[in-house]
Every structure is written in structure tokens, then in C-alpha cells.
């Protein structure tokens, strides 16, 4: 029975997969054909203004040639609410449809930014990302849907953008943005939106924009706060003018560690789309030389005045003149001491004798070995999920709470009636196996030399021992 059920399951999954591939191919083909059709139509209208003598054709070409704004009847209807804005009007829309915008990152910031940029009629919209859609992205990356879990974010985002607006050109860059491909990709666009999530990418995108002379709409969000500004625009400062020295790696928190309220990057991403639209359509005052600070919890938005372009700036300063060659040779990971990819840190601080695998630990539990398990994650992590009979002592409090561990060990020895001479073991666990190593180092220093960490933490426990154990 069960094997039949499994076969059925994998048959359905396989069929779904192949149908989705087929669907995506068909969508690609449709949008390519539509683009072709548009080109032919425009050409035909240009060549033969009154070709078939039909009323609509005459009127259409009359509109095209007489009003000179390049907006087709379809565009006039689709973007009519833009055209009705006196401060935007046909000129703004006409500028927009002729512009091209590159969005780097199809995550929490990129999701709403891309949807609005597609909807508003930007002529060409590029999307760069190398990541795949995961279930724990969906609370904030609203461009992706459940059906696209496991798919590339670029494909998923492009399909969503096409379903909103099939009349614009959407370019998929399914690769990581690196110094080797950055110049080539970015040179095809007028404006760049930085919707990435790490420090080296931010420096790299900034420098590439400086080298190519592109304005950069930069947004960031973490926890309950967001920040937004426009760099390298019209003589304004660049990212390096503000931050010539990268922050210490310990100051660079990530959404996957610190959390983020989904709507916060949503707000910032929308504002990024707005700034990009303003620059592309040449309206208003872009947020250059100023920064918007958004505090969601206290419902406060503050706009502050920033310094001017720095003459000392290594990227855009008077004597800098960063060349394409220098850019391509620059090591951004070394400069910022942090990786371009967002894969979690994997420390290796301890000797193998001070570590055990989660499988080994599960055997010790099954064998009823006398031991205590200390979970060094923050308390709000521990509340999400924990192993039974573990004690939660967050890493920063470890030193102060050493007596608790010693007395727990003693109690365990008494309870199990461990013979004098041997003693209860001390194991330490955390989410991914980094803090547990730091904790074991600390415990060793404080005399608890038998302490061992569980390699890979609860994530590995879920992977290797208990597939039903929740991960986050």
C-alpha cells in the first residue's frame, strides 16, 4: 500500500514539474511572439500610414504620427491614470516606456519593486538573482507564489511580471551578480535598483554604477527598520562617500538570523520603485543626498540630509577614476570580510574530539547515557522549538550561568547514580552549530573540559535524525 502511495506521489510531482516547465516555455514563446508582433505592427504603420484604408488604421497612425509621444492606443488606455496626472502626463510615461531598469535581487525588496516597475510600463526590466524560491521567503517576497517553490527566483519573478504586463521586455539574468559579469549586465540599463541583502554586493553594485555612470536606487531592511537613498545621481554622493570603510562583520545582521517583518522590506521596495520611476520619467526630486529612515514599530519616517560627494572617495572622488579593469579585479569579499552569497557561516573552531554528530547524540539519548544538553540560542529562538530535556542558556549569559550547568551535571550524576570516577557528559547545541562551538570553547576555558558541541546544530538534527523536527 505504502509503496503504491509513494509511486502515486512521485508520479504527480513529476507530472506537475513537466507541466510547469511546459507552461513556462509556452509563456516565453507567447511573450516573444507578442513582442515580434508589436515590432511588425509598428514597422507597418511607419511604412504605410494609410495602408489598408480602414478607419482604425488611419486613426492609429494619425495618433502615432501627430502627437509624437510614441504611446500606442493600447498604452494610452493602460497607463491612462498616469497620463491624467498633470505632473506626470504623456511626457513622463513616454520617458518611462523608453527607459530600462535593472533590479539586482528578487527578494523582499525586489519583489514589490519589480511588480510596480513592470506594472508602470518601464520599457525594459532586468532581474538578477541566483537564488531559488523557498517556503520561508513567501511571507515577504510577495512576487513569488507557492507553485514556484524550488524554482529560480528570476524565473518566478519574471513570470509574475509578465502576468501583470505582457507588453514590456523582461530580461532574466539567472546568475549571481559578480565583478566578472556586472559590467556587461549593467551596461544595458539606465537605472539600477539595489535590492540585495549583503555588504560586499552593495559595494560592488555601487562601484559598478560609478564606473558606468548609472544612478543607483538603494534600499535596505532588517527587523522593523528600513533605509532608502539614491546614490551616484547628478553629482550626489555614492555609497563609498558615505561608507568609505566597511562595517565589522559582527555588525552585519541578516534577515535569516535576525528576522524581518515582511511588510517592512515591502514598504522600502515600493519606495525604491517610486524613486526609480521618478528618475526614469524625469519628474520630481529624487532622494539623492538625502536618506529616508523608516521605523515601523514607532510609525516614524525621518528624512535626513547627507554629506556631498567626497573628493576623497575611492570610487567617485576627484583622483579616483575607478576603471573597469580595476573594478573587475577588486576583491569585494576580502574588502568587506564577508561572502557575496548569503549561505550561512560555517565555523570550525574545535578539535574533532570536542564534537559529536547529531546521529551520535541521538544514539547516546537512546542508550540513556547520563548527560545534560545546553541550548545556547537566544530565548526567543528556544521558544520556537527545542529538544526535550535541554536547558536554555543563551551564549552571552553562559559565563554568568556556569554554576547552573555545574549543578545540573551534579544532579544528573546523582539521578543516574553514575559511579564515582566517571561523570555525566555535557553537550551544547544551537541552531546551525556555530554558537555551540563558541560556547564549548568558553566552557573549556572555564574548566568544563568535557563539553562537546553537536555538529551542525538543530538544522542537522532535523536533517539527519528527525525529519519532523521543525526548522526555521
Amino acid at each position: 500500500m505504502e509503496s503504491n502511495g509513494n509511486e502515486e506521489l512521485s508520479r504527480i510531482i513529476d507530472e506537475l514539474k513537466s507541466l510547469k516547465t511546459e507552461k513556462s516555455n509556452i509563456e516565453h514563446r507567447i511573450s516573444a511572439l507578442e513582442a515580434q508582433l508589436r515590432k511588425i505592427k509598428v514597422k507597418k504603420d511607419d511604412e504605410m500610414p494609410n495602408s489598408n484604408g480602414s478607419c482604425t488604421s488611419t486613426v492609429k497612425s494619425f495618433v502615432d504620427s501627430s502627437f509624437g509621444h510614441g504611446l500606442s492606443p493600447n498604452m494610452i488606455y493602460r497607463y491612462s491614470r498616469h497620463l491624467l496626472l498633470p505632473s506626470f502626463g504623456v511626457q513622463g510615461q513616454s520617458n518611462l516606456v523608453k527607459s530600462s531598469i535593472l533590479v539586482v535581487g528578487a527578494g523582499g525588496l525586489g519583489a514589490p519593486a519589480l511588480l510596480y516597475l513592470a506594472a508602470c510600463g518601464v520599457g525594459r526590466l532586468g532581474i538578477v538573482d541566483h537564488d531559488i524560491v523557498e517556503l520561508n521567503n513567501l511571507h515577504r517576497q510577495i512576487i513569488h507564489t507557492e507553485a514556484y517553490i524550488g524554482w529560480s527566483k528570476v524565473e518566478s519573478a519574471a513570470a509574475a511580471c509578465r502576468s501583470v504586463n505582457s507588453t514590456i521586455q523582461i530580461v532574466e539574468h539567472k546568475e549571481a551578480f559578480r565583478t566578472s559579469n556586472a559590467l556587461e549586465i549593467m551596461s544595458k540599463y539606465d537605472i539600477v535598483v539595489d535590492a540585495t541583502d549583503n555588504v560586499p554586493s552593495r559595494y560592488m553594485i555601487n562601484d559598478c554604477c560609478v564606473v558606468l555612470g548609472k544612478p543607483l536606487v538603494s534600499g535596505a531592511a532588517l527587523g522593523m527598520e528600513g533605509q532608502l537613498t539614491v546614490y551616484n545621481y547628478n553629482g550626489g554622493p555614492c555609497y563609498r562617500c558615505l561608507f568609505p570603510v566597511p562595517p565589522p562583520t559582527t555588525a552585519c545582521q541578516r534577515c535569516s538570523d535576525s528576522g524581518v517583518l515582511g511588510v517592512v522590506p515591502g514598504v522600502i521596495g515600493c519606495l525604491q520603485a517610486l524613486e526609480a520611476i521618478k528618475i526614469a520619467s524625469v519628474i520630481g526630486e529624487p532622494l539623492s543626498g538625502r536618506m529616508l529612515l523608516f521605523d515601523a514599530l514607532s510609525a516614524r519616517i525621518r528624512i535626513v540630509k547627507l554629506r556631498e560627494r567626497s573628493s576623497q572617495c575611492k570610487a567617485c572622488g576627484e583622483n579616483a577614476a575607478l576603471t573597469q579593469q580595476q573594478f573587475q579585479n577588486f576583491d569585494y569579499e576580502k574588502f568587506t570580510q564577508s561572502p557575496l552569497s548569503t549561505s550561512p557561516l560555517k565555523l570550525n573552531l574545535l578539535t574533532p574530539t570536542a564534537r559529536i554528530s547529531s546521529k551520535e547524540y541521538s544514539e547516546k539519548v537512546a542508550g540513556r547515557e547520563a548527560h545534560i544538553l545546553v541550548d545556547v540560542r537566544p530565548t526567543h529562538h528556544y521558544k520556537i522549538v527545542s529538544l526535550p530535556n535541554s536547558m536554555n542558556i543563551p551564549l552571552p549569559t553562559l559565563e554568568d550561568r556556569l554554576p547552573e550547568i555545574s549543578s545540573a551535571l551534579k544532579k544528573e550524576e546523582e539521578r543516574r547514580g553514575v559511579n564515582t570516577g566517571s561523570s555525566a557528559c555535557l553537550y551544547v547545541i544551537c541552531r546551525r552549530g556555530n554558537d555551540s562551538q563558541r560556547a564549548v570553547e568558553c566552557l573549556h576555558k572555564m574548566g568544563l573540559t568535557s563539553a562537546k558541541d553537536i555538529i551542525g546544530g538543530l538544522e542537522t538534527w532535523a536533517h539527519d535524525v528527525d525529519p519532523n523536527f521543525p526548522t526555521y
Binding site: 541583502d197 559582527t250 545582521q253 535626513v304
Partner: protein, 99 residues
Amino acid sequence: MQLTLEFGGGLELLCDSVKIHKINVDPEAGVEKLTMKHLLAWVRTNLIKERPEMFMKGDSVRPGVLVLVNDCDWELTGQLDTTLEEKDVVVFISTLHGG
């Protein structure tokens, strides 16, 4: 001198997760004016409860921290030499990178 200090972008975690601090601080003895340099030293002693290296480096703020005096980048007002006035608002904000 009464000042309002605000910490953001995660820096508030260094001062008991309190974002806004109304403080009273006076210039150093024998000096008429209160400067940012003196204020930073005061903040480090009186408000920062943990990991001071996440706030300061040398006698200034660490890389990645923006300092705003009355909503204006302190690079424009004289950085450490900025003179503070009664009721000024000073914001310390750590730049974010997430997305």
C-alpha cells in the same frame, strides 16, 4: 544641556533596547561648548551597556554608523568638532544591509 539621543538600525540593542534617550549633559569642566567628541565619550560611559566596539572605534563612531545632528549628516556640521546646542537631536544609526 538637554539633548535627545536616538539609536537605530540595531544600535539600540547596545543600550538596553531603548531607542530614545532624553539626557542632560554638560560641557567638560573649563570648556564653554559641548562638542560631539565629548558627547560620544559621555554616551559610551553612560548609555552603552555592552559591546562598546559595536558603537565606537577610537574616539569616533565605528565604520557603518551614521551620525545625524538635527537630521543632518555630521560630516556637514564638523564631525567630532560639531558644537551642540540646547534641545538638539542627535541620531546614531547603523546602516542596514538586509533585504
